[in-house]
């Protein structure tokens, strides 16, 4: 009985009309706090945080590079988990979530690459350095592109869902392997003069905007994801009767 109770939320979420309604109601609850946090975080990062003693004002790129890099990875993990749920329990809405994640994650991966490169130019003197983080980020972009390319290759949504989901899971298993291989590879070829993004101990005044932005970006992802999931659900369920009722026609 307890087990049944515990699983009802899971089954409710699996129902497209329920999730559609829930997504519609929840979106503003994520969108507005995200907007406030991101705007506040940018202001704090650009104006309030003190300049870094080593990198001067240049370090302020951290407030866009780290959140976008965090998004690129978090969205991939979300996509992989959703894909796994969809594949194992044959849950349509989970596939809709996974499919919605890919373009969001890919766009933030591009942003992380560009901001990383813009950070690298004043620090390293070149636009691109085969730094392990940037290299992993670039590989991640190819994983996203592969996922979207595979989905686009099928005419049939069901097959695209299932094949894409399998690829996302394989990718999820591979992401840590690739990441550590790249770190291992980089440790062999390290040029001594290069200033690297280390794990600096950041003072509180510098850290606070970063934490605000990480939370803001995560909420932003949730809001955009919910909107995209609604679109995906509508597309998948276009023959179902509840859609007409939900739209009031």
């Amino acid at each position: 009985m307890m087990a049944d109770m515990r699983w009802t939320w899971f089954h409710r979420l699996a129902s497209p009309p329920y999730l559609y309604g829930l997504a519609t109601r929840l979106t503003p609850w994520f969108a507005w706090p995200a907007a406030l946090l991101i705007l506040g975080g940018f202001y704090a990062g650009l104006a309030l945080a003190p300049p870094d003693y080593q990198q001067g004002e240049g370090f302020r790129i951290i407030y866009v590079h780290v959140p976008t890099a965090w998004m690129s990875l978090m969205v991939y993990v979300t996509m992989g988990v959703a894909a796994g749920v969809g594949l194992i329990w044959r849950m349509k809405v989970a596939h809709a979530v996974a499919a919605s994640c890919a373009p969001i994650g890919a766009s933030f991966t591009v942003a992380a690459l560009v901001t990383g490169s813009l950070w690298g130019k004043p620090m390293w003197g070149t636009w691109w350095v085969w730094d392990p983080r940037l290299t992993s980020e670039l590989i991640l972009l190819f994983l996203y592109l592969g996922f979207m390319g595979l989905r686009a290759g099928f005419d049939d949504t069901q097959r695209a869902d299932r094949a894409g989901a399998l690829l996302a899971i394989v990718g999820l298993v591979n992401v840590p392997i690739i990441h550590y291989s790249v770190i291992w590879w980089n440790s062999l070829h390290q040029a001594p003069s290069v200033l690297r993004f280390g794990k600096p101990t950041i003072p509180g005044a510098m850290l606070a905007p970063l934490l605000i932005l990480l939370l803001g970006f995560t909420l932003f992802f949730a809001a955009v994801l919910l909107v995209r999931v609604r679109a995906e659900i509508l597309q998948r369920e276009r023959a179902a009767r509840w859609i007409g009722e939900a739209l009031g026609t």
Binding site: R90, D156, Q158, R238, A239
Partner: protein, 208 residues
């Protein structure tokens, strides 16, 4: 009441926007033959593929002797023989080699058995020829030899008489009659008349 060898309960399956299987249900006992008819695109092949577990219906289930086939697919598959409309043959292997590899993956095979099955379908004379040199009807006969070799209790046949001459059709009829006589069951998708003396216990018409 005896348990049906194969039973389908309210199978619902969509392909994109197309509602292909709209609540298909039937029961099939031992020694019975079910004929599935319907126009092209009505979902005959989809139904057969769903029955053998390749496709998963959105709703409903397939039962074998009262148990859901999903509970143990490998065991269900080893008691089933599915013959699609294209015989699964390799052009660069001889007819005999094709049978050896195809059926050998499933069952232990003896050379004598292979020869007997090939003779049975009238392929004795040309079984050492590469399949690429055979006609469509001859390929179909090789596939029938595979049927003769697999003593699966359940046969799922998709248009088994395509490309066959009158004599070939008789062979199909004889094989099917034998299968029914020994207590096996057959689901056959065809819009032609059933070959030989075989009579369908039930006819299922799929509307498109």
């Amino acid at each position: 009441m005896s348990v049906n060898l194969l039973e389908a309960e309210n199978l619902q399956l969509w392909r994109g926007d197309r509602h292909v299987l709209k609540g298909v249900g039937f029961g099939l006992g031992k020694g019975e033959c079910l004929q599935v008819t319907g126009t092209n695109g009505a979902g005959k092949t989809t139904l057969l593929r769903t029955l053998c577990g390749l496709m998963v219906p959105e709703e409903g289930r397939v039962l074998c002797e009262g148990r859901d086939i999903r509970a143990d697919l490998p065991a269900f598959h080893s008691s089933l023989m599915y013959l699609g409309h294209e015989p699964p043959l390799k052009a660069d292997l001889t007819a005999r080699e094709n049978l050896h590899y195809w059926i050998g993956v499933r069952r232990r095979l003896a050379a004598a058995g292979l020869d007997a099955a090939l003779a049975r379908v009238g392929a004795g004379a040309w079984c050492e020829r590469l399949v690429r040199t055979l006609s469509a009807g001859q390929k179909r006969r090789v596939a029938l030899a595979g049927l003769a070799l697999m003593f699966a209790p359940l046969w799922l046949l998709d248009e088994p008489t395509t490309n066959l001459d009158a004599e070939g059709q008789q062979v199909v009829g004889a094989l099917m009659a034998e299968q029914l006589a020994r207590g096996g069951a057959i689901v056959v998708a065809t819009h032609q008349q059933l070959p030989g003396t075989v009579r369908a216990a039930r006819v299922l018409e799929l509307a498109s």
